[in-house]
Amino acid sequence: MGADTTPKIVIVDESPIRAAILQEGLREAGFTEVVHISEMQSLLARIYALDPDIIVIDLENPSRDSLEQMFQVSRAVRRPIAMFVDQSDAASIQASVDAGVSAYIVDGLKKERIKSIVDLCVSRFNAFAKLQDELDRTKNALEERKVIDRAKGILMKLKGLTEEEAYVLMRSTAMREKKKIGEIAQSILTASELLK
């Protein structure tokens, strides 16, 4: 690879959404040659065929150990090195492991260039984790809402309460028992199942 050309980057990730987020970030930063591999069967063969300058892999991926073998294959023309081999930047190693991403770089890339790519991967991985977290929380909130609504219905029917009164009863019980209203609602559902 010449100094002026765009490095070829391979993203190894089984999560298509995260890979898309990363790919988009890299494109925006001017790295146009990005290939995503989501299929772990014959991973090494594909990497050899693509001959990338940089390989980015998520740390939840067991195939990371297969990639490590590429350091050892004596007949491989170009040997990638792990980003971690350069110990000069402990903070960026920490940030990358925290974010759950690892990068392998084939010799010949300038250090500043590598750092900017790795930093970008770290921030995109973190952005994805945040997104995932928000999604999970929204999902949980929705689930909880459904449970509360069903519990409300049961109380209204059994005790002849209005919707407002049923809600107030659950809330005050939750406060008295130092529990979440969702937990009280869940126990009402469980009890009503049992008493059917």
């Binding site: 772990m40 069967q41 014959s42 090494l44 740390l59 939840e60 991926n61 067991p62 195939s63 990371r64 150990d65 297969s66 990639l67 490590e68 073998q69 350091f71 050892q72 004596s74 792990a82 971690f84 081999v85 110990q87 402990a90 190693i93 920490q94 492991v97 690892s102």
Partner: protein
């Protein structure tokens, strides 16, 4: 004061002493609050130990040595005060390769020299007919699996770098990849050989105990600097692991149940117990083979680290070109295994410390002498020593 520790492990039966120590409360009894973290790759374990996300880890013995020497990766001195397992691996081959080896076999099918020579004939006839080279999978470049595989086939005249393809695969993918025909054989720890046999896609050709009578497999690894700063914690961890190892040997059914938990290994207890008992189904037709040496955890002094084992593993790295021979590196490698920390933690010394663990009992080559690694390596025909 309770010490809080994060300890990484890979879902394998030879993490038993560690998992049992935590799940039976032996670590808590030592004042340790241990969180076990299940990992998906040895690379992750190595890196997380390196940056301090893990205080200790279940680690391939050769990775502990390679890290301490800075071979293939960042140099990070490791101390191994406890040996988590001796032996425990097996070589599994596809039904097609099994049939081919058996057709060429001249001798006992459990004799590794006979099977290695048969393999050499299979390799030669494939070459003659223009068939693709056989592909053998193992778990990591710096793994006992890699070295055991190579030691075996080279004894029969097969050069693992020239005559076959060696690839790395994560253990949970082995059976599936063997079934799909992408690989012809693999060497891996338990329970993954049994899983391939149960699925009808493989035959266990050898227990590693056929190849070496006594081979250090996984260690409990800590950063050397951490061990120096926290000697009491290391000692407490060793004592808890020793109780765990002892428990494993005397309570196999309960151990198997503990390991079977989804957040531990997550496979059937029955499959795990086969390994602990050394009583394995080796063929899809139900043939059973027993060995008293399949996996040693808390018996025959298996838990005490033996520097001579580290020397043998270092010699394999030299033999297969991962590093070059140096007297100083050999010394560093041997110093990774810390019987002194083990003895100190358990209040042993003198006679116990001086007792010799006995030879490797390799099926081929001369008796290994750490004082003459170059001479030892020079005696092998494959590969020719060019360094």
């Amino acid at each position: 004061m309770t010490a809080q520790l994060h300890v990484g492990f890979i879902p394998l039966v030879d993490a038993a002493a560690l998992i049992v120590a935590v799940d039976k409360g032996f670590t808590a009894a030592e004042g340790l609050d241990v969180t076990l973290v299940r990992e998906v790759s040895w690379s992750n374990i190595r890196d997380k130990l390196n940056i301090g996300m893990f205080d200790a880890a279940h680690l391939l013995a050769p990775v502990a040595i390679a890290s301490s020497l800075g071979i293939g990766h960042v140099k990070l001195p490791i101390a191994a005060p406890f040996n988590l397992g001796i032996n425990g691996n097996a070589i599994t081959v596809s039904p097609a390769l099994h049939a081919a080896i058996m057709a060429e076999l001249d001798g006992d099918r459990f004799d590794p020299m006979a099977t290695a020579k048969a393999l050499a004939r299979v390799v030669a006839s494939r070459r003659k007919s223009g068939a693709e080279p056989l592909t053998f999978a193992m778990t990591f470049p710096f793994s006992t699996h890699n070295y055991h595989f190579r030691f075996w086939m080279a004894a029969g005249g097969v050069d693992p770098d020239e005559d076959v393809r060696m690839v790395v695969l994560p253990p949970p993918f082995m059976a599936e990849t063997l079934a799909s025909g992408q690989i012809d054989a693999f060497c891996v720890g338990a329970p993954w050989n049994s899983i391939a046999v149960d699925r009808g896609v493989g035959h266990i050709l050898h227990f590693v105990a056929d190849i070496l009578v006594r081979a250090a497999e996984k260690v409990l690894a800590v950063r050397q600097s951490w061990a120096e700063r926290h000697p009491d914690t290391v000692a407490a961890l060793v004592r808890a692991a020793e109780r765990g190892a002892d428990f494993v040997e005397h309570n196999r059914a309960e151990t198997a149940r503990i390991l079977a938990q989804p957040e531990r290994i997550g496979v059937d207890a029955e499959v795990i117990q086969r390994t602990l008992d050394g009583r394995l189904k080796i063929s899809p037709d139900g043939t059973i083979r027993e060995s008293g040496r399949y996996l040693l955890v808390g018996r025959e002094g298996a838990a005490r680290p033996e520097p001579v084992q580290a020397a043998w593993l270092y010699a394999q790295m030299v033999r297969w070109g991962q590093t070059s021979m140096s007297a100083e590196a050999l010394k560093t490698a041997m110093a990774v295994f810390r019987p002194d920390l083990y003895d100190a933690a358990l209040g042993r010394g003198g006679a116990a410390a001086a007792s010799s663990p006995g030879p490797f009992g390799a099926f081929a080559g001369p008796v290994f002498d750490p004082a003459d690694v170059a001479g030892y390596l020079g005696s092998f025909a494959v590969p020719r020593q060019t360094r």
